[in-house]
Amino acid sequence: MNADSLWLTTKKISLYVLLCLVTFAVCFPLIWALSTSLKPKSEIFATPPTLIPQTTTFENYEALLSGRQQYYQSGEGKQEIGPSPAQFFTRWFVNSVIVTLGSTLISIVVSTLAAYSVTRFRYWGRSAIPYFSLLGYMVPSIIFVFPLFLMMVRLELTDNLLSLVFGYVCITLPFCMWLMWAFMRSIPIEIEEAALIDGASRYQVFADVVLPTALPGIIAASIFSMIVSWNDYLFGRVFINSLDNLTLTVGVMLFFEGTHVDWGLLMAASVLMTVPMAILFMALQRHLVAGFGAGAVKG
C-alpha cells in the first residue's frame, strides 16, 4: 500500500469509528433501557452498572404482558406497597392501538379523497385548501386541546376513546392532506383520461387507477399519522381520566409519578411502547423517499 491509499484507508476507518461512536451515543438511551428491562431487581442498582445484563430475566415483560394484578414489593418481596401499572399495560396498549388505527383510517380516507378532488376538479377555493391544511399543521396542539375537550364534554364523549380518535384526526389530517395532495399532483392525468375513454366512471377511475398508483403516498401518510397518534401525550392526558381508558403514553407516565418506581418495569414498558414505532419506522424507511420526495419535506 502506498502513502495515498494508506491515508484513504485511515480516513475511512476513522470515519467509521466516528460514525459508530455517534450512533452509539444516540442510541444509548434505548440500549440502556433495554438492558435495564432485562435485569433482575438486584442487578439494576448494582455498581458498577453493566451494559449487558449478567443475568437476563424476562420477569418485567411477563408482568406487563400478563395483565395480572401486580403490586410493588418492598425490599425482600414481603410487603406490598401499592398497585403497579403492570396490570393495565395490556389494556392501555389495546387502547392506543384502537385510537391510532381509528384516527389514521379517518385521516387517510378523508385526505385521499380530498386530495384527489382538489387536483382533478375545478371549483371555487380548491387551490386554497392544501395551503389551509399546511397552516393547520403549523398550529401547535396545545391550542386545539381545550376547545376540543369542551366540544367532547358537550357531546358527552369525555373519558371515551372516540374523543381521542377525533382529537388525533385534528392533528394528523392537515399533514396527511398536504402529503396526499403533493402525491396526487404527480400522477399523470393521462392514465385517468385513458380510463375514462376505456369506459370507466369517475368512481371506477379513482378506485382502479388512481388509488393503486397513489399507494406509496398513502402508506407514507398512514405511517406518519400512526406515529403521531401513538406518541401523543397531551390529548390523552386531557381527554381521558379513568384508568381503564388511558392510552399507553399517559398511563405509563401516570404511574411513574406514583409512590414507588420500579425502574425495570418502567424500562420494559418503555421498550414495549417503542417497538411498534420501530417496526413502523423500518417500513417507513422504504417509503420515506417516495412520500417525502413528492414534495412534502423538500429541503
Binding site: 382533478r120 401547535p140 397531551l234 417507513l284
Partner: protein
C-alpha cells in the same frame, strides 16, 4: 357557452370527494381555533359552567402583567434558540458524515434517525432513569472516570434542568435536520466539488465555498420551521421536568397548560394560546418571506 352534461356530473364527484374533508376540517380544525380565540375573552372555569362570562381583555391583561408569563416567554425563547443551535450544528455534521458511500450506511442512517419516532414519554422516562442523580448511569460513569466528584443534579437545579430539556430536544429532533440536509446534499452536483478541487480548494474550503452555500436555503427553511415548532412544544419540557424545578423551565405552552389544567383558568390559557398563535403567524410570514427569497435566487 354550451355546458356539457357529463362535465356537470363530473363536477359533482369532485364536490362529493371534498365534502368529508370540509366537514372534518370545519369541526376539528376551524372550530377549535375559533373557539380558542373566543375563550380568550371569557372567564372560563370548566368546573363552574354557570360562571362563564365575558371579560373583554382581562385575560390578556392578566398574562401580560404576570411575571410568570414573561419568565416563561424568556425561558422558552432561550430554550428554543439553544435547541435550534445545537440541532443545526449536529444535524449538518451528522448529515455530512452520512453523505458517503460507505458500507452499511443504510443501517447507520436508520439508527441515527430513530429518535424522531420514539414517543416523548419514553425518552423522558429513560432520561430520568439515566440522569437520576443517585442511581443513574450517567452520573456513575462521570464520577468513576473522575470528571466530576459530586453527583450532578440534572433535573433539580434550574440551569441543569434547562440543559437537560435542551439535550432531550436536541436528541429527538436533530434527525429531522439530518433528513432535510442529507436530501439537499444528495442533490448537489458532484461537478462543483470537482471544479473546486481543480481550482485548488482543500476539504475545509470546499465545505465553506461549495457545500454551505448549497445548504443555505435548506438551512434557512429548516431553522425557521424548527424554531416555530420548538417554541410551541409542550411534551418535551413537561414530561421531563413538569416545568420545574419550580417554574424555571416553563415555556408558553407549559404556562398555558398549567393555567388551564391546574389553575382552571381556561380563558387565561386560551389567551396565552392566542399570543402563541400571533407569534406563529409572525414566524410564518417570516418564513414565507425568507422562503420566497430562496426560490427567487434559484
Amino acid at each position: 357557452m354550451r355546458r356539457l352534461d357529463f362535465l356537470q356530473s363530473d363536477r359533482f364527484v369532485g364536490l362529493l370527494f371534498i365534502a368529508p374533508f370540509v366537514v372534518t376540517a370545519v369541526l376539528f380544525m376551524v372550530y377549535p381555533i375559533v373557539e380558542a380565540i373566543r375563550m380568550a375573552f371569557f372567564s372560563y372555569n370548566p368546573l363552574r359552567p354557570d360562571l362563564i362570562f365575558y371579560v373583554g381583555l382581562a385575560n390578556f391583561e392578566y398574562i401580560f402583567s404576570d411575571p410568570l408569563f414573561w419568565s416563561s416567554f424568556a425561558q422558552g425563547t432561550i430554550w428554543t434558540l439553544l435547541s435550534i443551535l445545537f440541532q443545526t450544528v449536529f444535524g449538518v455534521g451528522i448529515a455530512l458524515l452520512l453523505h458517503r458511500k460507505l458500507f452499511g450506511m443504510a443501517i447507520f442512517r436508520g439508527l441515527l434517525l430513530f429518535p424522531y419516532i420514539v414517543p416523548t414519554v419514553v425518552i423522558a422516562l429513560i432520561w430520568r432513569w439515566i440522569f437520576n442523580p443517585e442511581i443513574g448511569v450517567i452520573n456513575y460513569s462521570l464520577q468513576s472516570v473522575g470528571l466530576i466528584s459530586e453527583p450532578i443534579y440534572w433535573l433539580s437545579t434550574p440551569t441543569m434542568a434547562m440543559a437537560s430539556t435542551i439535550m432531550l430536544n436536541v436528541w429527538k429532533y436533530t434527525p429531522f435536520v439530518v433528513i432535510c440536509v442529507l436530501a439537499r446534499l444528495q442533490a448537489v452536483p458532484l461537478e462543483l466539488y470537482d471544479a473546486a478541487k481543480v481550482d485548488g480548494a482543500g476539504a475545509f474550503r470546499r465545505f465553506l465555498d461549495v457545500t454551505l452555500p448549497q445548504l443555505r436555503e435548506v438551512l434557512i427553511v429548516v431553522i425557521v420551521f424548527r424554531t416555530v415548532w420548538t417554541f410551541n412544544k409542550f411534551e418535551e419540557i413537561y414530561l421531563l421536568t413538569k416545568g420545574g424545578p419550580g417554574t424555571s423551565t416553563f415555556n408558553l405552552a407549559v404556562y398555558s397548560f398549567e393555567q388551564s389544567m391546574a389553575s382552571l383558568r381556561l380563558g387565561v390559557g386560551a389567551a396565552t394560546g392566542v399570543v402563541m398563535m400571533v407569534m406563529l403567524m409572525v414566524g410564518s410570514v417570516l418564513y414565507l418571506r425568507v422562503a420566497g427569497f430562496g426560490t427567487e435566487e434559484k
